[in-house]
Amino acid sequence: MPAGLYRALLTFAGAVAAIVLAIAISSVAIIAAGASPGDAFAAFFNFGATDRTLATGLAAMINRAVPLFIAGLAVAVGFRMNLFNIGVEGQYRLAAICAAYVGTVFVGPSWLQITVIILVAMVVGGLYALIPALMKTGRGVSEVISTIMLNFIAINIASFLVRGPFAGQRAEGQLANTTQTLPQSAWFPNLNWIFGAFGLPAPRGGGLWGFLLVAVVLGVVLWVVLERTRFGFDIKASGLNATAAVASGVNAKKMVISAMVLSGAIAGLIGLPEILGDKHAFNSGFTPGLGYLGIAVALLGRNKPVGIAIAALLFGFLDRAQGPLQIAGLPSSVIVIMQGTIVLLVVIANEITGRIAVRREERYAARQLGRNTPVEVGA
């Protein structure tokens, strides 16, 4: 079996084993809580009785996965070169409010307006990520610390902006702070026709967010960039062995800055699916915490676009069950426990399978070369 295929299979097996083990651990927790794991797992697959509820549930799951996927990508860009951008959280919030605001100020043809909104989000996210990058390259400040601090700062700035300069009109008595609602031209068309193609009715709500397409394109582009281009090679080399990368001519500072800014620019997109596809404004109910979840998703997906997609869908699948679990009278926080244990176990499994693969490769290499096969020496 070729080494690459073997490694892939082993990784997959490890992930499956980790998930099974995580399910077992969660089952114990569920039993300890006095409920039946069987009911719980039934709830995970309970998508309601009708085709409509099925479509709605699927859309909810995918819609949850889209921002998680983007967040995972953003985090992964840095992680691949051991750059820990914990600041995705702050970057996307700041980007989201700025994009939502610009979307109300600049009105144009739909395609242009949406493009502008996307660009603004990426620029704001990238610029905010530039701060920790410069602090690292210029003054050696650990990005882990600076980005954590900058998250607190970004959250406050965003809340200032939505309360003050970027605040939109509100009805008397409406308490949620919000930007102006985006004009229809900035609403991203949904993808409900996909359900039609499978003979399902359109899901309810915002439907399947059209931003999914952007995310898919982003994933493919990022895969190409990371796996096939020189820039991707430099990132990989910096991650595997930073000193060797520098000795080979990679400009370490430039890499830190470009990877961080790229990560921030992608992070800028995290909030857009929700804003363009559903809420059409940045308001108090804007989903927080996706940056932190993105870290978990990236880890689960081993910093690779395909893995991240799978991990995001898994998280989306688990999160969707919040309602069904409660309707069945079960503690829904078991979901978070499952997510946490899966991440931890998958990471441990990665470690173990990685070691097995290396061992095998070494053994294979040694066998091929016949090194140190004992020679018989006459006594």
């Binding site: 595997l240 060797a244 070494e362 066998r367 020679v375």
Partner: protein, 536 residues
């Protein structure tokens, strides 16, 4: 000396049928060695023969799969190094095992700390170390930080660590690899003294002259098995080498000159300040003048007004004790560390260029430490081929990496340089050190470089691979390549170089003709024992 006690005393160490398997590799197979007390017992064998593994077993760091160990006649079974330390065994490892940020004292007492009502008894430790150091002539300042020490001092700290634990059996795994002849002689003096005090020394080295010089008995290991036990009085270095590999020793002899008139590389007044960050000189100040000013100010200069030319077809060897500026010199030329002064390649001033641009313009670089600077251990061989050539054909096409071409070229290197590997998708970490080194040399030689910086190109590489690498260097030189060779192996330096320079405290202190210099002379310049005079 202790000849009469030998008859009655039990062997200090007896290894019986030791076997150790690693995944896919039998590192040791049925090893039998008997070490008499109060002797220096040398163990020789080519790279990967299993010497270090065997010593780690004796020191409790690895568990043997089979076999028995007897120390002073009693059978022992070690689980950890502390068990070995407990029966009086100490080991100085092939690579330094020191915490740089600790003081000498802290490094020495670690794991055997003197205590006074629960607290460290620093003053007792200091007294003990000073006594020990005095008694064995191992001078070190216990309160200095290890990071500030040179290699010779570090080696002494390593030996003190062992003596501090009251070891009666010392294992020294290649202690001389980083020392110059004078330091080696000093070390041997210490060893003889220890021996006269009744201590037993197990000594590993690739330098067979040294082995013959110091050892009372020699054991040869080949492919994990003991193949011979000889007495140094009965063998020559050549015979030993044949026992080790079963073939003739290659030599780096190279006399017919290929040096041309054309200057390929010109380094002028290269100066590096220990604290400075500046890379651009102020207007109107020459590098030479600047160096003078800094010197007058009493600054510590890592490189002090270094100038030399290398012609096409010339190998310039730079000798020096590690830590005298060799690393800084090559890193400055590669643009990895800022320095002031001129660096020209074929007439173009490259001193302000980025590392990448320097590489693109035809500089090859075989780094000192292949694991740190040369390889992506967790990357495949072909990815390692791309490293440093991301922006050049055949590895690139546009903004993309040309995987197919890179793989094809890796196949070429594997073939031409005899890299022993099951395939080019193998991870680099699966290769032995020598094969990794051949891959690096092959990579750096590809793309027809004009100038090659080769730092310790054969360090830790066994004799067969050594010869292959030397051949490649010679061939490239004949084709007009300029080479800056830095090596701790003086035979290699003398044998390969067309011109020799000695670096001492950041200065080039001597220019020597390799055809009439001995390693001892060279060592004299390197340690500053002979004052340098610029010749050539």
């Amino acid at each position: 000396m202790s000849a009469d006690t030998l008859a009655t005393a039990k062997p200090a160490v007896e290894l019986e049928g030791i076997t150790k398997r690693f995944p896919g590799v039998v590192a040791n197979h049925d090893i039998r060695i008997t070490v008499e007390p109060g002797t220096v017992h040398a163990i020789v064998g080519e790279n990967g023969a299993g010497k270090s593994t065997l010593m780690k077993i004796l020191y409790g760091m690895q568990k043997p799969d089979e076999g028995t160990i007897k120390v002073n006649g009693a059978e022992v079974s070690f689980r950890t190094p502390s068990d070995a330390i407990g029966v009086g065994i100490g080991m100085v490892h092939q690579h330094f095992m020191l915490a740089d940020n600790f003081t000498v004292l802290e490094n020495i007492i670690l794991g055997a700390e003197p205590k006074n009502v629960g607290f460290l008894d620093i003053s007792a430790a200091r007294r003990r170390i000073t006594d020990l150091a005095g008694a064995h002539g191992l001078r070190v300042d216990p309160d200095r930080r290890v990071e500030d020490l040179g290699v010779g001092d570090r080696q002494r700290v390593e030996i003190l660590k062992v003596l501090y634990r009251g070891a009666r059996i010392l294992i020294l795994d290649e202690p001389t690899a980083v020392l110059v002849p004078q330091e080696v002689e000093e070390l041997f003096q210490n060893l003889r003294e220890l021996k006269s005090e009744g201590l037993t020394v197990i000594f590993i080295s690739h330098k067979l002259d040294e082995v013959l010089d110091i050892a009372d008995a020699i054991t040869v290991i080949r492919r994990g098995t003991t193949v011979a036990s000889v007495s140094p009085s009965e063998v020559t270095a050549r015979r030993l080498a044949e026992l080790m590999v079963g073939s003739e020793l290659p030599t780096p002899e190279t006399r017919e000159s290929t040096v041309t008139e054309k200057v390929a590389v010109r380094v002028s007044h290269l100066t590096m300040d220990a604290e400075g960050h500046r890379t651009v000189l102020p207007k109107g100040v020459s590098a030479e003048g600047y160096a003078g000013t800094l010197r007058a100010e009493g600054r510590r200069l890592l490189l002090d007004d270094v100038s030399f030319d290398i012609h096409e077809g010339e190998i310039l060897g730079v000798a020096g004790v590690e830590g005298n500026g060799q690393s800084e010199l090559i890193e400055a030329i590669m643009g990895l560390r800022p320095a002031i002064g001129g660096i020209e390649l074929n007439g173009a001033d490259i001193s302000s260029w980025s590392t990448l641009r320097r590489r693109e313009s035809g500089i090859g670089y075989v780094p000192e430490d292949r694991h740190r600077q040369g390889l992506l251990l967790e990357g495949s061989l072909w990815e390692n081929r791309v490293l440093g050539h991301q922006t050049r054909r055949p590895s690139k096409s546009g903004i993309f990496i040309n995987r197919r071409a890179a793989k094809a070229d890796t196949e070429r290197i594997v073939k031409d340089y005899d890299v022993r590997t099951p395939g080019i998708d193998t991870l680099a970490l699966a290769l032995s050190g020598g094969n990794q080194q051949k891959l690096i040399v092959g990579r750096e030689m590809s793309g027809e470089p004009k100038f090659l910086i080769a730092a310790h190109p054969t360090r830790g590489v066994d004799v067969g691979a050594q010869a292959a690498i030397w051949d490649h260097l010679r061939n490239a030189r004949a084709a007009g390549l300029a080479v800056l060779l830095i090596s701790a192996d003086l035979d290699e330096l003398i044998g390969l170089s067309d011109t020799l320079r000695v670096i001492y405290r950041g200065r080039l202190v001597a220019g020597l003709d390799p055809s009439d210099v001995t390693p001892e002379q060279l060592g004299g310049y390197m340690t500053g024992a002979i004052a340098g005079t610029e010749e050539t």
